[in-house]
Structures are given as structure tokens and as C-alpha cells.
Symmetry: C2
């Protein structure tokens, strides 16, 4: 967990193929974005975009991918995935068939830097 409050939390996923892959998870049990009030919806997107912003600053990915499926677990969460042209699926989705291997690693102290940046972006 690299950020949390009473409303949501941000988890840095340990994925060898996708270092920096984060998940934003709503604490409340809700299934669809449009089941939330407009204010909660906006707040959840604010957290998602703060993660995108921090990942762009810290990793300079070629693209950031955002997705909310919840087909398996009917509990709202967002995938925020830094993508690189040499990653295992680029330019396809990370859920597509693998087309190459890659061995990208995170910069030193990445989790701490991410924690600090999200704290700044989401304070108040």
C-alpha cells in the first residue's frame, strides 16, 4: 500500500512484467462507477489521475493505461499501468497474448518516491 485514506487505497503490484503497476481500490463495496455519487466518482478518479501523474513523473512511460473491469471481483478498482514500447505486450493490452519478454526494473527507492508524491498530490 503506497497511499490510503478512509475512501480508497493505492497498491503497488509486485509484477515482474509490469514494474510500477498500481491498483486503486475503493474501500466501499460498489460495483459500478455510476453506482457512486458524482462526488465520490470524482474523488476516485482524482486518486487514479494522481497515480497516473506520479508514474509519469517517476518512470516516464511511453503511455499509461487505465482500466476498470471488476468482472471477477465486483468491487470497484482501477488498474494504472505504465507501458513501455519494449514491455511484454506493447502496443497491445496487458491482457492480450504475450509477444516478447522484457526485464525492466524500477529505479531505486521507487516505492518511497511514489508514496511521497501521492501524499503531496492528494493532500487536503
Amino acid at each position: 500500500v503506497v497511499w490510503k485514506d478512509d475512501f480508497a487505497r493505492v497498491v503497488l503490484i509486485d509484477d515482474a512484467d509490469y514494474p510500477g503497476f498500481c491498483r486503486v481500490i475503493l474501500n466501499a463495496h460498489q460495483k459500478e462507477m455510476t453506482a457512486l455519487s458524482a462526488a465520490y466518482r470524482a474523488r476516485l478518479m482524482e486518486v487514479v489521475f494522481a497515480v497516473e501523474c506520479a508514474l509519469r513523473e517517476l518512470l516516464a512511460p511511453d503511455k499509461v493505461n487505465l482500466a476498470s473491469f471488476g468482472n471477477v471481483v465486483p468491487h470497484l478498482h482501477w488498474h494504472v499501468i505504465p507501458r513501455f514500447a519494449d514491455d511484454p505486450h506493447f502496443p497491445n493490452s496487458v491482457w492480450s497474448a504475450r509477444i516478447r519478454n522484457s526485464a525492466r526494473t524500477l529505479p531505486p527507492e521507487f516505492a518511497e518516491s511514489l508514496r511521497k508524491r501521492l501524499g503531496d498530490l492528494l493532500k487536503g
Copy 2:
């Protein structure tokens, strides 16, 4: 095109596997959500959530999937996909390997109903 203004447009995709699949496309050439101003970002999500809302009302899907990748075309767009337990990939993503066939069709006058509902939801 089932809805448009100066800022964005909503396209109903002709996809036999995913009837009701919509794409929300920003008119301006921008690559990342966090490259937009907060106001434009909020407006684009408002359109995305209006489509989700209309699709839930008109099709009652088991889940709605939202995704913004843009790895191939670096031009912001969102996929809004009504998912059903008997669709070709459920509960996996629509970009995963196909696990079954399905033959779902849209209700009569669907495009017209969607057009009308989006007009109501996004007016003003």
C-alpha cells in the same frame, strides 16, 4: 456517432461479439488524461460515465468495463463495454483469449434510444 459536441464524441461500435460497445473520443489530440486540464479531464469522464449510465439503463449488463489505452493511437479515447456472463470472454477482459461464442443482439431501436438518453444526460 450517437453523441457529439465540440469537445468529444461517442461512437457506437459495430462489434458482433460486443453489441453496445461504445467509444468516447476526445476531439483534441492529447495522449494522456493527466495532459488535460482538470476541467477537461472531468468533462471527458462525465461523458464516459453518461455512456456507462445509458448502457446500464438500456441493456442491464452484468458489468460495464472502462478502459483507456491509446498505445496504438496516441489520441485519448475510452472504451465503454457492456459485459454479460455469456459473452465471448467473461469474466476475462475483451482483450483476453476467447473462451466461448455468443449471439447477443441489441434491442430494437437501440442506437436511437442511446442517442436520446445521452442527449438528456449531457445536455447543458
